[in-house]
Amino acid sequence: MTATLTPTPQREGARRRSPLAWLARFQSVLGLVVVFVGAIVFSPTPDGEIIFLSGENLTNIVRAVSEIGIIAVGMTLVILVGGIDLSVGSVLSLAAVGSAVLLVDNQLPLAAAMALVLLVGLVFGALQGAASTLLGIQAFIVTLAGLSIARGLARLWSGGQAVPIAYGSGPGEAPIAFSLLGERTFNGIVPIPALIFVAVAGGAIAFLRISAFSRHVYAIGGNEKAARLSGVPVTRVKITVFAVCGLLAALAGIVHAGQLNQGGPNDAIGYELDVIAAVVIGGTALSGGRGTVIGTVAGALLLGVLNNILGLNSVDENVQLVIKGLVIVAAAAVARFAPRT
């Protein structure tokens, strides 16, 4: 037997890094680029200034998408493992109510209140993940039920009415530190929610790049059976991912409460579709195993820019709805027809 184990030569060299191939790496942000350029073109320009590009407007956009964006990071993970989480809007509202009640009514210290609220989101998410994986029920059903349950709990906890947050150190007043969430900072330019969004997204991107966990996430969504046979702790990873999504929804809820100075039990209705839209427009496949957090960030910003530019121009609200739909399809088509390697 002669066959030596000479490796087949790898034709690495043959692969040229064409500019097209380079561009294709950014496929998930291509839609955003197109919409962004469109927004510049169609920006109102009183006094010749491109309003859309003004620093204030751009930070407004980031702030406006930050809640959706924070949750979308968690939703990306959930969708990557082949799941879905419809409960995020309700959990956001539950967390907002919780923040208000704990700070104002229960006079908890800031750190304790925040920790408790985040824990509620985490546990809620984990329970949903457990119900879905351990009972083998489709995540859609479990989290649809979760949507209903969390909304009910938010209304019960708040007594059905928005709980207003006043700041100060007296009874019935929340610590002033909490009001920072509603402020702008860094020369009045960068709003705190935007910073939190950027931190969450950046952290997630970095973590996904270097962690074994993220490999497990992708493998499960790609082929759960193969992942299990490869020794991936499928159930644990899935539950964790749902828990993270719940946690981030709760974090968004805290931001929401800070932004609006109240915990509203009827807030964020229908956010789940916006969040999923950001993820999917960012190129993540609903079937799992394929997608990136960067794409999700781009998807969230795309929706934000679109909303913003339509708002800046006085387009009729109903016509706006039509244009919005058309642009979303167009942006998705552009990304789809981007060159691929």
Partner: protein
């Protein structure tokens, strides 16, 4: 061999996938009443060429002539209309649909406007009968074993009554009895003037069935010849481009201590599972440095045994015991098995082995991330190096390890699975049909690798449907029949016929020639 006008003629076929030239300037003719073998290493371009002929791949360079007329197919249905049918290498069936529904998918029978279920089931039963299978045509395909699914795919192609029938590795999951039956049918087809293109990596089959053989290498035609006038060694040399003396290597390794011991293992399931054969009294041992074969007919329970040992068989009360290095273990999950040094290569790489749209890299390292980093973190650089290592070691042919696995040829996909499993540094290796779809050269490499690993003290339990492989590679062969271990041969003495006889048990007496 017939000299009549060819049924189809391919000229100057070329096809490029990104940086890979899958086919370049290939000519091929298929004549009526011939079995034309298409040979070549993994990734030589066989499947691609046939997918072009069968209308599956439509953007290519070159000409197709059918019965002298130039044709350009718009899709598989178009090619089928022109009398060209193909059995695809990967078992492309719809899991939730029944056998009959799969067989007639896309050309359902109708009676007075409605779906003719009865008719389709009867005709399906008839084709299945023709290849010697008795399966209820109303059963969902997902309940079938891999081998049975392959038979369904064959039945489906036969039912098309094509003038040109392409079979891309139709026997890779079949054992000898089914193969014989398929060949009987193939000879009938030949008699009826059907042109058959036959792709296989089982060299003995080529000699038995083929009238002509065309060898491809790196997407190019090496030549067309008469397989009956050439030895296997010559054919293999043509394929690989260098001589390979013997495909099989038997290790002369000093056998060490007992690694794995299975004592009277039986699994009883909570729910009845039609057509399943659970372990029901299996005893065997694997020692360090030993390669033990598992032989048995389709459905004898080999896969179930391996899955049970790996801890991924469906749950149920177990009796008997499994000892690893002398200690009793209860494999409950793949993680548990892996932690204890047991690794497993599943039978169906596409369903259970790979994330098809993920890269070679990702698929290679997923089971061994712990060794690539620590504290749950991994270094992309080390990950990359590990994957490149595996690719080099196993000779995985891919343009780049960042390419998705499903752009690899079948055999190379199999090597990716093997590479991943080996990276977990197992003590005991459970292999279920590990060379399915792997070319001779690569098989030899894999066998040699197994020998090498055994030399380092690894124990291997290898299930295979290819008897020559079992006898050629293994030190001992354990035969399973109906979920029991019924014989244990030392391959130094055993002949194929003995193993077969043990596998078939009392059935052999009823068999006639």
């Amino acid at each position: 061999m017939s000299d009549s006008a060819p049924l189809v003629a391919l000229t100057g076929i070329a096809k490029r996938y990104g940086g890979v030239q899958a086919c370049r300037d290939i000519d091929l003719t298929v004549r009526p009443g011939e079995v034309h073998a298409l040979l070549g290493e993994n990734g030589a371009g066989k499947s691609t060429l046939m997918r072009i002929l069968s209308g599956d791949v439509t953007d290519f360079v070159g000409e197709i002539e059918v019965a002298g007329q130039p044709r350009r197919f718009a899709g598989p249905a178009d090619a089928q209309g022109a009398g060209i049918a193909m059995i695809h290498q990967e078992l492309d069936l719809v899991p939730a649909l029944s056998i009959a529904e799969n067989v007639f998918l896309g050309r359902e029978l109708r009676r007075v406007g409605r779906l003719d279920r009865r008719g389709m089931q009867q005709r399906t039963a008839a084709v299945l009968e023709r290849i010697g299978v008795r399966l209820n045509p109303a059963r969902p395909v997902e309940q079938l074993r891999t081998g049975e699914q392959q038979l369904v795919v064959i039945a489906k192609a036969l039912s098309l009554d094509a003038r040109v029938l392409i079979m891309d590795e139709p026997t890779s999951a079949l054992s000898s009895s089914e193969v014989d039956r398929l060949f009987d049918v193939t000879r009938e087809l030949r008699r009826d003037g059907v042109g058959v293109v036959y792709i296989s990596h089982r060299m003995d089959e080529i000699a038995r069935i083929a009238d002509r053989a065309t060898v491809l290498r790196n997407g190019e035609t090496v030549g067309t010849f008469d397989p009956r006038t050439m030895s296997t060694a010559q054919v293999v040399e043509a394929m690989i481009g260098r001589p390979v003396q013997s495909v099989f290597t038997t290790s002369d390794v000093e056998r060490g201590d007992e690694l794995l011991r299975v004592e009277d293992l039986a699994v009883r399931h909570r729910r009845p599972r039609p057509g399943r054969r659970d372990p029901d009294g299996i005893s065997l041992t694997v020692r360090a440095g030993e390669i033990v074969g598992l032989a048995g007919l389709l459905g004898a329970g080999r896969t179930e045994l391996l899955e049970t040992l790996y801890g991924v068989g469906s749950a149920g009360p177990t009796s008997g015991q499994v000892l690893l290095g002398g200690d009793p273990i209860t494999p409950r999950s793949a993680r548990y098995a892996l932690r204890n040094g047991i690794a497993f290569v599943p039978e169906d790489r596409r369903v259970a082995g790979l994330v098809l749209f993920h890269s070679v890299l990702a698929n290679t390292v997923i089971a061994s991330l712990g060794s690539i980093g620590r504290l749950g973190l991994v270094s992309a650089r080390r990950e990359r190096r590990a994957a490149q290592d595996s690719a080099a070691r196993l000779g995985i042919k891919t343009a780049a390890i960042s390419d998705p696995v499903d752009t690899l040829s079948g055999g190379n996909q199999q090597k990716v699975v093997l590479g991943r499993v080996l990276r977990t540094q197992p003590r005991v290796l459970l292999l279920d049909e590990p060379t399915r779809g792997v070319d001779v050269g690569a098989k030899a490499e894999i066998y040699e690798l197994l020998g090498e690993l055994a030399g380092q003290g690894l124990g291997v339990l290898l299930a295979s449907s290819e008897l020559p492989e079992l006898i050629g590679v293994c030190d001992r062969v354990v035969v399973l029949r109906a979920g029991r271990s019924v014989a244990d041969f030392d391959t130094a003495q055993a002949r194929e016929a003995d193993v077969l006889a043990a596998a078939m048990g009392e059935q052999l007496t009823g068999a006639t020639s």
